[in-house]
């Protein structure tokens, strides 16, 4: 019923190959955007915004970044944490050098350095792939985290070794720093995430995206049909790293408010990789679903378990949390190894033919 497509005719290739060819999807998308842009910031309290929504969006963006590389181009990487750090530290340096410039510019600029460094570490991808490439990106991750700890210039010789976010305004409203309200930070985060997601969506549906997928499916065949491997792979590394870098800058500037080097550890890389895999490789929707599951599930459990009358100690809840999240991840992967995005595809297909499945 929900997906009755009767009467929806595609009269041109343009409408037939659109990203959302079905009207229900387009309406649903508008509803989600309306909820995200208006309802959530107006009615959400600071817990919902600061603990649930902002981190979810930032993780989703980082997951999109990794998904472009791993899901669309088929190149495994464990360097996401380090690249997010590059974005954050670049943004920090730029914001302290040029305090007058709009902070949004520097958040977006933070990704540029990440893109350059990501492309540099992507050079081995021409010769090695799979687990061997994973090891090469692991080296990048360890090197970058080492640099964040050992190069005092990066954190302006701060005694504590942290980078601290200064207060910066946009149109008179504080956007970063302790004086920025959660709603403002949420709206800025949402805008950046939506814009970059749309860009990424157009990219993967364009010639560039198709050449990435050709490389993913069989790189020799892709080379034979005239796709130059090195530029394609490096472009994938650069775009993926750019998005990761922006996500990293947002992580520190729009969420944490300050960060130490250990934030960008291998744990962060793993978290993002899990989000990518659980959500579904090669799916932008999956990036959001994966980030939602891995980020929100523990928070929900932490609040629901005591809420339903189980008077558990916080440490017990934490242990239960780890067990339940782990079990659910295994469950989802057994039920649908291709990730949540594929699960949604299946559900949607069923809905389209409901109530007369064939």
């Amino acid at each position: 019923m929900l997906y009755r497509e009767v009467g929806q005719y595609h009269a041109s290739y343009r409408t037939d190959t659109a990203i959302f060819p079905i009207r229900q999807d387009r309406v649903g998308m508008l509803v989600i955007l309306a909820v995200a842009f208006i309802i959530v910031p107006v009615f959400g309290n600071s817990f919902l915004l600061d603990v649930v929504a902002i981190p979810f969006l930032i993780y989703a963006l980082a997951t999109i970044g990794l998904n472009l590389l791993t899901g669309y181009t088929g190149l495994l990487s464990l360097g996401t944490g380090g690249l997010m750090g590059i974005g954050a530290y670049t943004c920090y340096k730029l914001a302290t050098w040029f305090p007058g410039v709009d902070i949004i510019v520097w958040i977006l600029a933070g990704g540029v350095t990440a893109a350059a460094i990501g492309a540099l570490f992507g050079v081995p991808s021409l010769r090695i792939k799979g687990f061997y490439l994973l090891v090469a990106t692991l080296a990048a991750q360890f090197f970058l985290q080492w640099a964040f700890e050992r190069v005092p210039w990066l954190y302006n010789n701060n005694v504590s070794g942290d980078i601290e976010v200064p207060t910066r305004t946009l149109l008179g409203l504080p956007v970063t720093g302790p004086n920025a309200t959660p709603a403002t930070r949420y709206e800025v985060t949402l805008c950046i995430v939506v814009v970059l997601t749309v860009l990424a969506s157009h990219l993967v549906h364009s010639r560039v995206g198709r050449s990435w997928m050709a490389v993913r499916d069989m790189d020799i065949a892709a080379e034979l049909i005239g796709i130059p491997l090195l530029p394609t792979k490096l472009l994938s590394f650069a775009v993926s790293s750019y998005i990761s870098g922006v996500a990293g800058a947002m992580l520190v500037f729009l969420w944490y408010g300050s960060a130490e080097a250990s934030v960008f550890s291998i744990d962060l890389s793993f978290t993002i990789l899990f989000m990518t895999i659980i959500g579904g490789l090669g799916s932008l929707l999956g990036s959001f679903l994966g980030a939602a599951l891995i980020h929100m599930l523990p928070i929900a459990l932490r609040n629901v378990l005591p809420g339903i009358g189980l008077d558990l100690r916080p440490a017990t809840v934490e242990h239960l949390n780890l067990m339940i999240v782990g079990a659910l991840i295994i469950f989802f992967l057994v039920v649908e190894p291709l990730g949540l995005a594929r699960l949604w595809q299946t559900i949607k297909q069923k809905l389209r033919v409901w109530p007369f499945p064939y």
Binding site: G44, L48, N158, E260
Partner: protein, 439 residues
């Protein structure tokens, strides 16, 4: 791409919304950030138990503070900054009296938020040292000593053993530290003292990922033969260092550390750690009326998670000390504000008026438990006296008299650090909070 996602979001929003427990308006809300899980839980559990048990004892014995029950709520951080921020956001809407982050990373993330949200932060002998200056950081408190105070006491103690500062000339003092901001903080002071008194400081950094693999550092120690060793370590690094020191037969008696090594760090090496020194400002053990009350009202009633053999440990007692400061601050806040149910802004004043002379400790049932402590609007630390204690193979034994920190060298460092912090954070607010406790 739509309905499932909307419903997930809606479900999560509803669950989160309904699950937040309603706030009882007639209780004083004391959140405790603790870490009973994760790689550092070995130190986190006894501290959490101590903090929790003392406040619950006040509830059970006195019906709270000033007749108002305390609503003590633990939030599990796992020593993880992100979860700490999550905890902070979860409690900040419920009128918390004071935040105890119990992690330097979480403290530093919360410092800028404290002044905006009007919630004081008590980071007891950890966190940002410069926060000792109340004029710059009116909302942050880090009594009773900073790490620089601690190092100066160790150097003073070494000089006393050598027979005077002039005898340090030509000596070599080794400094083994966790290669993180926390471990590196004392180095400028150590270098400064080395230049002043003519000793040589040798540095042995231990990377956070290599805490349990220190053979190369101790090979260096064997080569350089430092007369004394000073350690700024954490977690698994400390038992490893002690075992390595024992392996190269380093005289344990000449090995000093700050105050973050608990019983469990020494229990692993056991006898091998005999003679090891660290700093402290409170007694160890359960031989105090107030601690016996904890046993009577809380532990024996089954209201605590404290295992019998950890009751009265060094870290347990440190948790208790932390809670005594909270309780005293709340008591002061009630007096100053005239309200029964106090909130963060009152407790900030209460903390600035914290005054615990020996007589007050006695009244509280802690005679001889801890050194006197007095804070003021300008001094949020106290820079109290410290003493050295020695591990006798099974427990800590007090091994020195009270030693005062060298404030003449520590204060300039604190002021420089605070100035640097303010310069970095353009627009750092000037203190506007009124002061009701000068000197």
């Amino acid at each position: 791409m739509s309905f499932k996602w909307t419903s997930i979001a809606a479900a999560v929003a509803i669950l989160v919304g309904t699950a937040l427990p309603a706030l009882a308006a007639d209780q004083i809300f004391v959140p405790l950030f603790t870490y009973r899980t994760g790689p550092y839980s070995g130190g986190g559990i006894p501290i959490a138990n101590g903090m929790h048990d003392y406040l619950n004892m006040l509830n059970a014995r006195d019906g709270g503070i000033g007749g108002v029950k305390l609503d003590v709520e633990e939030c599990e951080t796992g020593y993880n900054t992100q979860k700490g921020i999550e905890c902070y956001e979860a409690v900040k809407g419920k009128n918390p009296t004071v935040i105890n982050p119990f992690s330097t990373g979480i403290t530093e993330a919360l410092i800028p938020k404290a002044a905006v949200d009007k919630i004081p932060i008590l980071s007891m002998a950890y966190g940002l040292s410069a926060a000792a200056l109340g004029d710059t950081f009116p909302w942050i408190f880090n009594p009773p000593d900073t790490y620089w105070d601690g190092l100066s006491v160790i150097v003073k103690q070494i000089a006393a053993r050598e027979g005077g500062f002039d005898k340090l000339k030509g000596d070599v003092i080794g400094f083994i530290y966790l290669d993180a901001p926390y471990g590196k903080e004392p180095i400028p002071l150590l270098q400064q003292l080395a230049d002043k008194y003519g000793f040589t400081a040798k540095l042995y950094p231990v990377a956070g990922t290599e805490m349990q693999n220190q053979s190369s550092q101790w090979l260096g120690v064997r080569r350089d033969r430092p007369k004394y060793m000073i350690m700024w370590g954490w977690g698994a690094m400390q038992p490893t260092a002690i075992k390595e020191a024992a392996k190269i037969s380093y005289p344990m008696n000449n090995f000093y550390a700050n105050w973050w090594n608990g019983d469990e760090d020494l229990r692993a090496p056991g006898e091998a750690g005999k003679g090891f020194h660290n700093l402290n400002w409170h007694a160890v053990g359960a031989n105090f009326p107030a601690l016996q009350d904890i046993k009577k009202y809380v532990i024996d009633k089954g209201m605590s998670q404290t295992p019998a053999d950890e009751f009265g440990d060094e870290f347990y007692d440190r948790g208790v000390y932390n809670s005594v400061l909270i309780a005293e601050a709340i008591r002061n806040a009630q007096k100053l504000s005239g309200k029964k149910v106090v909130i963060g802004t009152d407790v900030r004043r209460g903390l600035e008026n914290l005054d615990l002379p020996a007589s007050r400790w006695k009244e509280l049932g802690f005679e001889g438990f801890a050194n006197p402590l007095s804070l003021s609007c300008t001094d949020h630390n106290g820079h109290g006296d410290l003493f050295v204690q020695e591990w006798d193979g099974t427990k800590w034994v007090k091994a020195s008299g009270e030693v005062s920190p060298m404030s003449d060298v520590v204060m300039p460092l604190l002021e420089a650090a605070a100035k640097q912090y303010v310069d970095k954070n353009t627009g750092w607010p000037k203190r506007t909070e009124a002061c009701d406790h000068t000197s």
